[in-house]
């Protein structure tokens, strides 16, 4: 925040000349990078299709409306499967995430040098890879079907849940743990009385939050063959049955809205 002397009067500037040069230079690089990226995209785009897009969009719209309502009778089982993929996947993930989180949190890990990095690696690698990719992989390994979907959702969610949970564990009030330790409690008792009650609300919140996300993700897992309503979406798209596509999209939208509502309600009840 320099005050400069210029021609005998004091001039206030927010930054020194050097600082503002650096800033301008940074912005310049940023803009340049963006322009380069944009050129890349535009090179690999067929602009003829893009100019034609409004017409095509209108065309799709007229074909997709009205949705084929009677098709909903065939969607019952896929919706049930989708719900199961999300719920069972979340439950499995939570069972695995709890030990990983305790191993990863600085204040509960048995060994910060060896075990913690392994736990963190599990978290980052399961978290970085989208559930669709896990599903692709699992389908290659154990074949297509709902089970692959459940496992894919479970693996993807481990890292997510464990990360939030270990952050909650690291934020607990240490004196409460100290007080339990001071009574002569064993390591596991300290865990059950000092730590678990403190992270239970966070745990419940994370579980519901992830379940909500998993409902969304499980609706599209079928695109790669991992069961659920996405399977119907994919086959309808393949035969360009747009009225069915629009109905499925409406159903997915409804599922997302309902799951968000449920998770908000449950979180409100817990906290």
């Amino acid at each position: 925040m320099p005050v400069l002397e210029r021609e005998g009067t004091q001039v206030w500037r927010r930054r020194t000349t050097g600082e503002s040069m650096v800033r301008w230079f940074g912005w310049l690089i940023g803009v340049a990078v963006f322009v380069v990226c944009w050129q890349q995209i535009s090179q690999s785009t067929t602009w003829f299709f893009v100019w034609d897009a409004p017409r095509i969009a209108g065309d799709i719209w007229t074909r997709a409306t009205p949705p084929r309502w009677e098709y909903i009778s065939k969607l019952g089982r896929p919706i049930w499967d989708t719900l199961n993929i999300a719920t069972l996947g979340t439950l499995i993930a939570l069972c695995m995430a709890v030990p990983v989180a305790f191993l990863a949190a600085r204040n509960t890990t048995p060994s910060a040098l060896f075990i913690r990095p392994v736990a963190l690696l599990i978290i980052v690698s399961t978290r970085s890879i989208n559930s669709l990719i896990w599903a692709l992989l699992l389908i290659a390994i154990i074949g297509p079907g709902v089970f692959a979907g459940v496992v894919a959702i479970a693996i993807r969610s481990i890292g997510f849940c464990a990360k939030l949970l270990y952050e909650a564990i690291e934020e607990i009030d240490h004196t409460q743990v100290e007080a339990i330790t001071a009574t002569g409690a064993s390591r596991w008792q300290v865990m059950a009385y000092g730590i678990v009650p403190q992270i239970l609300p966070a745990f419940a919140g994370i579980a519901v939050f992830r379940w909500d996300i998993n409902i969304r993700e499980s609706t599209v897992l079928g695109l790669v063959g991992a069961g659920g309503i996405g399977l119907q979406l994919s086959s309808s798209l393949n035969v360009l049955a747009w009225p069915q596509v629009s109905l499925i999209l409406l159903v997915i939208l409804a599922a997302v809205v309902i799951s968000e509502w449920v998770s908000a309600k449950v979180r409100g009840a817990i906290i």
């Binding site: 007080a179 002569g184 596991w188 009385y193």
Partner: protein, 264 residues
Amino acid sequence: MLRLEKLTKTYKTGDQALKAIELEVPKGQVLALIGPSGAGKSTMIRCINRLVEPTSGAVMLDETDLTRLGSGALRRARREMGMIFQEYALVERLTVMENVLSGRLGYVGFWRSFLRRFPQTDIDEAFRLLDRVGLLHMADKRADELSGGQRQRVGIARALIQNPKLLLVDEPTASLDPKTSRQIMRLITELCRERGLAAIINIHDVALAQMFVPRVVGLRFGEIVYDGGPNGLTPDKLTEIYGEEDWEATIQKVEGEDEIEAAE
């Protein structure tokens, strides 16, 4: 009963919190530990039950040296020492009863404690203690619904249900208003008398210490600079412990407060 021998604590940063402390506490004696913030009061209390590992020296409880115990034996030794904390340190999301019963954890196996199936004698004792501290009707309330003074009473009950020989009390009144502070101090000293417990009470309020406690130990920069009765705390002594300040007012206040006490 408790003897500290050359107890020293040096933190990793190089700060010497305790410098070869020598202290003896006989059975049933209540002792106040005073001194400015950072004098090592809290560290000393935590070194006794090894929530903080002492660097060197010995903590003799009866004839055992606590600093040499393995983790199992340390847990058994911790059962003998009840601890009361500054910010109550109740497990906020558990009920009052669970908090009190958590004092029995050292005596109960994991699964029993996990399923909350404590022996009937423990439950009776918990009820008796809650009655003694006046919170029986609150037994099934969650700890975070209580007021500060009530929480500290639960903290006291939790420490006593351990059936300890010694109470370690860390700033029991620091988060309480003056009236509640006195009630809590009175409760602690009364209970110690009833049960013949020794206690080390960390306290920064000199007047309060003088009011309730027969022996005062002054700590400064990790060294004991005063050890004697409450009446021996002259302005000079307080200056030695806390540094330069006008102490007459504090001492007068003590007398004044005694009158209020009498009037109550």
